[in-house]
Symmetry: C2
Subunit: 128 residues, 2 copies
DNA sequence: CCGTATCCTTCATGATACTG
DNA sequence: CAGTATCATGAAGGATACGG
């Protein structure tokens, strides 16, 4: 994903590359954040209501959850279903692209688990 | 990584779990951010100086790069080598845990590539 | 129950300048 | 060249209240 020059391509192809690259960067900016990852991990392959999600993610404010869900919905990673009942009921689930990203988040969780003690000692060493 | 209760464990084990959990969350907060990912991806399996890194990441300020490198170093993901020459020369490379995380970032890059058109059209649909 | 809007506070970020 | 410190500004985030 660097902005390196690639030879053997026409100017138009170069332009396409950098357009795709800047879009990719935008997606990174959106998605590569703590709350998005935690939401995706929490949703898993299940279906959760707003309040359930908020409770299970833990430590996220009403506002942050709304913002991140809108962002994920906008990128087509989360599907939002509204039941026009009283009181309202809204369900969230991952779409197929969302599930794809979930696989990535899963590998990061596994990575965390694998290296958590290394990281902890690296921190202690650094902080002294 | 949720904060769910797990039965069949002693209080001490529960405490260990939640300690590990909160540490894992801290690591997530540190590492799951745009700049960290871009830096890790840019470093790859190579060795780069501060200024090279800054140039190749692109669009990152001096300060942000320093901050993120310190954070990554603190977590033991990046190794920093200082050559006491004049002018100074500092090289950065990924450690083994850092390489492990790089694998995750790579899968995210692949994911972005795979779904980039879906995401783009989802956005256009949403924004109208 | 869920979403949005508002206000207010805190933090993150960029620009700049200075040091080793 | 690389790092740190300072300052100023804008954005992020929390609390609250109201509307559908």
């Amino acid at each position: 994903m660097g902005t390196k020059q690639v030879s053997g391509l026409s100017a138009a192809e170069q332009a396409d590359l950098s357009r795709a690259d800047s879009l990719a960067r935008e997606i990174f900016s959106d998605v590569a954040n703590k709350w998005a990852f935690l939401i995706i991990e929490t949703l898993g392959d299940g279906v959760l209501r707003f309040s359930e999600l908020r409770q299970q993610v833990g430590g996220i404010s009403h506002k942050m959850l709304t913002q991140n869900l809108r962002m994920l919905e906008r990128n087509g990673l989360v599907e939002r279903t509204v039941y026009p009942t009283v009181p309202p009921k809204v369900e969230y689930r991952l779409t197929e692209p969302g599930q794809g990203l979930r696989a990535t988040v899963d590998t990061m969780c596994a990575w965390t688990h694998k290296y958590i003690t290394d990281i902890e000692s690296a921190r202690q060493a650094f902080d002294s």
